[in-house]
């Protein structure tokens, strides 16, 4: 039985391993029929969970409290030892290796960073490299490199103690410490639960930036579904006993929830949440007639009429938008002034469609100006572009479903038909997917 699964999973994982695009430093993880029973509890906390976590992706584990998502996470680095089943990291069965050695090779971040208050930031970050026997110079260099990575100035923060940092900074140091020895896998247990909402958004953005650069395999537990949608390449929604209700992309979970439980868990506003999945940079935006201060308004108006546009964008010498003038306004002007309009509807190209739509609704034009690096003007986005993008992503989501990683519970089926359990669940899964 277990051999069957091994070969099965090896097949499904090895092609991915061989076709791994360069840049991915993560390793894939396989939970193979993992069960955890705590003494004195009638029902297992995790019941026969089989789950594949692809290399270089962010997988979010979400579910109501007590559903076993944290237990599942902690079994990957064996902070909690599984009662049954195997844990395979990067093709190696780690179920019986020394737990401390295993954990040194897996980054671990908890809420508020879990920093040691009696050690400086540098000592905290250097702990794992020190345990691995790195020499001092290498550790120092690595600490500085990591502080840079999490946007903290090494000279300023290296010798501080955790209590001298804000909550968000502590969390960053926590991430830096987890990344210290360049582990292929990063486990995060509600990492951004203890910071204020604004800091949380910034930390999430930074995590995405770091992930873009490093491409680790990140498994992250959260109770915040919006966070899961924002960060996750894949989302696993758990019910009690770590029953996997749906394991799929955020697009598909939002667009096509597997059952009522998932629907309830998503809550209202699934359509709006989809807007947070796409960034402005990913949809096409229209070009605009551009003018600069000092030009004669009539010239700009003439260009506007030739192009058939309704509005002209005025940019300053560094190509940052300062005004957005309608034909009517241009007609009344003599020369274009260089006074910036404070109410200009501007949206960064890394912003989500949700943010863009919000700004558009406020602006009278029903559109927004998109800026790129250093606030340089890139183009115009309007409501129609957003609508088209949503329609496209909904159709695309249904198509890309067959790449979904394996994720199923065998605990339920075991009781009914132990011999054919795997095949049954497999075909069940295929049917379910095909029918969607």
């Amino acid at each position: 039985m277990s051999e069957l699964i091994t070969s099965n999973s090896a097949e499904s994982m090895s092609p991915e391993g061989s076709t791994t695009p360069t840049g991915i430093t993560g390793a894939n993880i396989l939970l193979d029929h993992v069960t955890k029973r705590f003494p004195g509890q009638a029902r297992p906390a995790v019941d026969g969970l089989t789950m594949e976590i692809p290399a270089g992706k962010i997988v979010m584990l979400v579910g109501p409290s007590g559903c076993g998502k944290t237990t599942t996470l902690k079994m990957i680095n064996r902070l909690i030892e599984p009662s049954e089943g195997r844990i395979v990291v990067d093709g190696d069965d780690v179920t019986n290796m020394n737990g401390d050695t295993l954990r040194r090779g897996i980054g671990y971040v908890i809420q508020a960073g879990g920093l040691f208050p009696h050690m400086t930031v540098a000592t905290n970050i250097g702990l794992v490299p020190k345990m691995l026997g790195w020499d001092k110079a290498r550790i120092t260099a690595r600490v500085d490199e990591l502080l840079e990575l999490v946007s903290l100035d090494p000279a300023l923060y290296r010798n501080r103690y955790p209590k001298e940092l804000s909550g968000g900074q502590q969390q960053r140091v926590g991430v830096a410490r987890a990344l210290a020895a360049d582990p292929p896998v990063l486990l995060m247990d509600e990492p951004f639960g203890a910071v204020d909402p604004i800091t949380r958004l910034r930390l999430q953005d930074e995590l995405l930036n770091i992930q873009e650069e490093l491409q680790k395999t990140i498994v992250c537990v959260t109770h915040d579904f919006d966070e899961a949608v924002k960060l996750g390449d894949w989302i696993a929604i758990f019910n009690e006993g770590a029953q996997l209700e749906q394991y799929d992309t955020p697009e598909r979970i939002l667009g096509d929830p597997a059952n009522e439980f998932v629907e309830n868990f998503i809550g209202s506003g699934a359509g709006l949440k989809q807007l947070t999945l796409t960034r402005v940079a990913e949809v096409g935006f229209g070009d605009a007639v551009v003018g600069s201060p000092g030009e004669r308004a009539a010239d700009v108006l003439a260009r506007l009429i030739t192009a058939g546009h309704g509005h002209a964008v005025i940019v300053d010498e560094r190509h940052r938008p300062i005004q957005w003038l309608s034909r009517r306004k241009l007609g009344r002007l003599e020369v274009i002034s260089s006074v910036p309009d404070p109410k200009l509807p501007v949206v960064g190209y890394r912003a989500t469609l949700n943010d863009a739509l919000d700004i558009m609704l406020v602006s009278s034009a029903g559109a927004a100006l998109v800026t790129g690096r250093r606030d340089m003007f890139k183009g115009v986005i309007d409501v129609q572009t957003v609508m088209d993008a949503i329609t496209r992503s909904q159709t695309a989501a249904v198509l890309e479903s067959d790449q979904a990683p394996v994720g199923l519970n065998t605990g339920v089926f075991q009781a009914q038909a132990p011999a054919t359990e795997l095949n049954e669940t497999d075909s069940d899964g295929a049917d379910a997917r095909a029918s969607r």
Binding site: N77, D100, L102, F116, V128, E164
Partner: protein, 213 residues
Amino acid sequence: MWDFLGAQYEQILFSSWQHFSLVVQCLILATVLAVVLAAVVYRSSALTGIANSVSAIGLTIPSFAFIGLLIAPLGFGVVPAVIVVAFFATLPILRNAVVGLAGIAPSIVESARGIGMSRFRTLLQVELPMAWPIILTGIRVSAQMVMGIAAIAAYSLGPGLGGFIFSGLSRLGGANSLESVLTGVIGVVVLALILDLLLVGLGRLTTPRGIRV
């Protein structure tokens, strides 16, 4: 009084030094014992309860009776003195060490384990350093207390300033008897103050800025 001090100052200094050295050595022994015991018991609530009861009840044993009882099997001399002083020194330290270790947030221990520290390394590098300020408070309490107990230990003819007190008390009314008792008592108080200052200094040196209050 001044005549007594002048005539006896060499003896007084020697006894003070011996008293001080007895207390410090016993404190070190007691600290090691208490920390090891605390490390063994702090994870189990049942054992922690036992340890706390022992340290509470132990402190109610009259030290004078205890040393008297020890003279029977061990005879006179340094050994019973060391045992009594170390015993009483251990109790407050043990109590504080257990409280300090048990008071460390589980999340800190979990994060230490999560980055691959072994149980022992976690205790040594994370839990004990974090509990150290509390343990040190226990050591200071112990130091004050056993300064006095060490004087009583002189009953077993152990070293220290207690000799002045006992010899003075035994011939009260005689020449220089009161001076002798006062020398012993004041000497103990002065030594206690000096040791406390030293321990405060030790605390400053050994407590990292990150956990200083």
